[in-house]
């Protein structure tokens, strides 16, 4: 009995110490296993270290499951964290728990994807339209301002990639020498579907083992990689100017081998970092911007080894080590 009382004491003390923590911020990603989210985690930790706050990193128990993410948000509200940094899996479904948090006096910063609401403190994410524009600029640059180009879309209804597509088309039209010959094909979510879509897209422009188009733009990892595979299998890689979006070891290889001319990459590390920083600033009563762009970087063969680009590509792994 005495022993039990002792344990009771220890546990309650531990509990009360834990409850007296300074500022605690919950960071809730869409999932926890992908490289992208690990980079966000690293950035968030860096910001927490710098500002002296605690962060709780907690993703949905089942990857990409809306219901599970709602539960995590609810748990954090009950846990009475000081602020929530959330990458919502759905722009509608997460609205109710976010509004609930705000009503309970817990401010919310949205990162990565938008939420159909105006009650959050700030939206910290890549400016995808700008990303599309950067891709267009690079393609125009390597084409010397003239040629025939195609764009492979991702999927209907995906807001982030649609913004990239619009940004690309908007910018490329500023170059009168460049003609967009196809921009209505969708690659889909897997490499396999993207590969097939790429073959179908390229087929009408093939003549005597050569392509009658000069440039290609793809809007995310799966479409870029699918297109790359299609080009490689057709022996066409390197014979056409090709700019893609997002990064993976295979794509970097292709870039180094001269099969690609540029990759527009997001900066998840910075997204996590700025998400937490913005929250802390808000909690300290400082004014913050409603929309914060975490920027995109253009990776090319030439700048691949520069410290700036390496800082974007590698921070996740290094910070986690």
């Amino acid at each position: 009995m005495q022993r039990f009382a002792w344990w009771l004491g220890v546990v309650t003390m531990a509990g009360s110490v834990w409850a007296q923590e300074p500022t605690t911020i919950a960071v809730i990603p869409k999932g926890t296993t992908h490289e992208f989210w690990k980079a966000i985690h690293a950035g968030a930790r860096k910001a927490a270290e710098e500002t002296g706050v605690n962060i709780i990193w907690k993703g949905p128990l089942r990857e990409d499951n809306r219901e599970e993410q709602i539960k995590v948000v609810e748990d954090m509200i009950v846990r009475k964290v000081n602020g929530i940094v959330l990458a919502p899996l759905d722009d509608t479904a997460l609205r109710a728990p976010v509004h609930d948090a705000v009503r309970r006096g817990i401010p919310v910063v949205i990162i990565d994807s938008d939420l159909k609401s105006d009650r959050y403190v700030s939206f910290v994410a890549t400016d995808n339209r700008e990303g599309g524009r950067r891709g267009a600029q690079r393609l125009a640059e390597v084409l010397g301002g003239k040629g025939r180009v195609v764009m492979l879309r991702y999927a209907e209804g995906s807001a982030s990639t649609m913004n990239r597509e619009e940004g690309f088309l908007e910018e490329i039209r500023k170059h009168p020498g460049i003609e967009v010959v196809s921009a209505n094909q969708y690659g889909g979510a897997t490499t396999e579907t993207a590969y097939r879509a790429s073959e179908n897209l390229l087929a009408p422009y093939k003549k005597d083992g050569q392509l009658t188009i000069d440039g290609i733009f793809c809007v995310n990892e799966s479409t870029t990689f699918g297109m790359l595979r299609a080009l490689q299998d057709g022996g066409l890689a390197g014979k056409v100017r090709f700019v893609g979006f997002d990064v993976s070891p295979k794509l970097l290889e292709a870039l180094q081998a001269g099969q690609m001319d540029g990759l527009v990459v997001q900066n998840p590390y910075r997204m996590g970092y700025l998400g937490v920083k913005t929250m802390v600033a808000h909690l300290r009563g400082e004014p913050v911007e409603k929309r914060i762009d975490t920027g995109v970087a253009l990776v090319t063969r030439e700048n691949l080894d520069t410290p700036e680009i390496q800082a974007v590509l590698r921070p996740a792994l290094e910070a986690l080590r």
């Binding site: 009771l8 546990v11 309650t12 531990a14 509990g15 009360s16 834990w18 409850a19 919950a26 926890t32 709780i56 990193w57 907690k58 993703g59 128990l61 089942r62 990409d64 499951n65 809306r66 219901e67 709602i70 539960k71 995590v72 609810e74 748990d75 954090m76 509200i77 009950v78 846990r79 009475k80 759905d90 509608t92 479904a93 609205r95 109710a96 609930d100 209907e156 209804g157």
Partner: protein, 316 residues
């Protein structure tokens, strides 16, 4: 001895809750937390009402998660097409009931074991849900359905928990009474205890089975309506693997996969135990991999303890 048996899962719940309450008294013992736990349990609890009947009958339904997803899609689709919220609710429940009825008919007429039939319908129903939704979530106009399981606004705090939770509790009473006091309930238990005996004693085994699967499906459909209330969209990918949570809840609550045993209250307590563990781990900020190991361990430990107690009770 009988009441100790019935109290087993409750003791488990008290222990698990007490543990988290000791670690985090400030947040875990608040009314607010209890309400959150109740809301988070409602969906699994609702589906567990039907699953209890099915498991007591010696069956199994693996298609529950998919049925929930289908129901959210049907509800959202109905609302999007301009239908009334009541109509959407009925449509969601009917969709679930239809899935259950098909399961039941295939099991009884084609004599395929329920595990295989519902393993098949797990995929078929998920496919139908995705197809209906054209592989996207369906946005629906706002309606009172969204408030079934939403956090109560301050002027309605007298309800303590949202209407969806009350609905689940009311139906739990109905199912518990039905199982204990009606011929249908007794026939369900009889089939689970020994199907051959039930047949010998003139129970219309095929009819009862089909009916139980239909009712189970309807409960999954209703769970889908509650799921929609939380998501506010129709999501064909939601509730992936939910059937395992539901089955675990029933089994923790004293249900036996061999049939003949299980209670509605036990199942609800089982569902609560799972929510408390999940929510406690989550509030403590434990990484997901730790949480999964803890949950799995507790499920096996709870059921193993129950069986051990059972054997002792039989021996004395």
């Amino acid at each position: 001895m009988r009441w100790v048996g019935r109290l087993g899962p409750v003791i488990g719940l008290v222990v698990v809750y007490g543990l988290f309450a000791l670690i985090a008294p400030e947040s875990f013992t608040t009314v607010r937390n209890l309400e959150t736990i109740a809301r988070q349990t409602a969906i699994v609890g609702m589906a567990a009402l039907g699953m209890t009947l099915i498991i007591v009958m010696g069956g199994i339904d693996l298609s529950v998660g998919s049925t929930v997803a289908l129901s959210t899609v049907v509800v959202a689709g109905w609302l999007q097409a301009g239908g009334s919220p009541w109509g959407a609710m009925v449509a969601g429940v009917a969709a679930g009931g239809l899935v259950g009825a098909v399961n039941g008919v295939v099991i009884t007429r084609l004599r395929v074991v329920p595990f295989i039939v519902t393993l098949g319908s797990l995929l078929v129903v998920r496919g139908v849900a995705k197809g209906l939704a054209r592989e996207q979530k369906i946005d629906a106009p706002a309606s009172w359905l969204e408030e079934l399981l939403a956090v109560l606004p301050d002027e309605q705090r007298w309800m303590v928990v949202p209407p969806g939770v009350w609905l689940m509790l009311a139906l739990a009473v109905l199912v518990a009474v039905g199982l204990r006091f009606t011929r249908f309930g007794k026939h369900t238990i009889a089939i689970g205890s020994n199907e051959a005996t039930a047949r010998l004693c003139g129970v219309a085994v095929e009819r009862v089975k089909t009916l139980v699967y239909t009712v189970g499906g309807a409960f999954a459909g209703l769970a889908g309506v509650l799921q929609f209330s939380r998501l506010t969209v129709g999501d064909p990918t939601v509730a992936l693997g939910l059937e395992l949570d539901v089955i675990a809840a029933v089994v923790i609550g004293g249900g036996s996969l061999a049939g003949g045993e299980g209670s509605v209250w036990g199942s609800l307590v089982g569902a609560l135990i799972m929510t408390v563990i999940r929510s406690g781990c989550s509030q403590m900020g434990l990484p997901n991999w730790v949480q999964e190991i803890v949950t799995g361990g507790i499920i096996v430990a709870a059921v193993a303890l129950d069986r051990l107690r059972h054997r002792r009770a039989l021996a004395t």
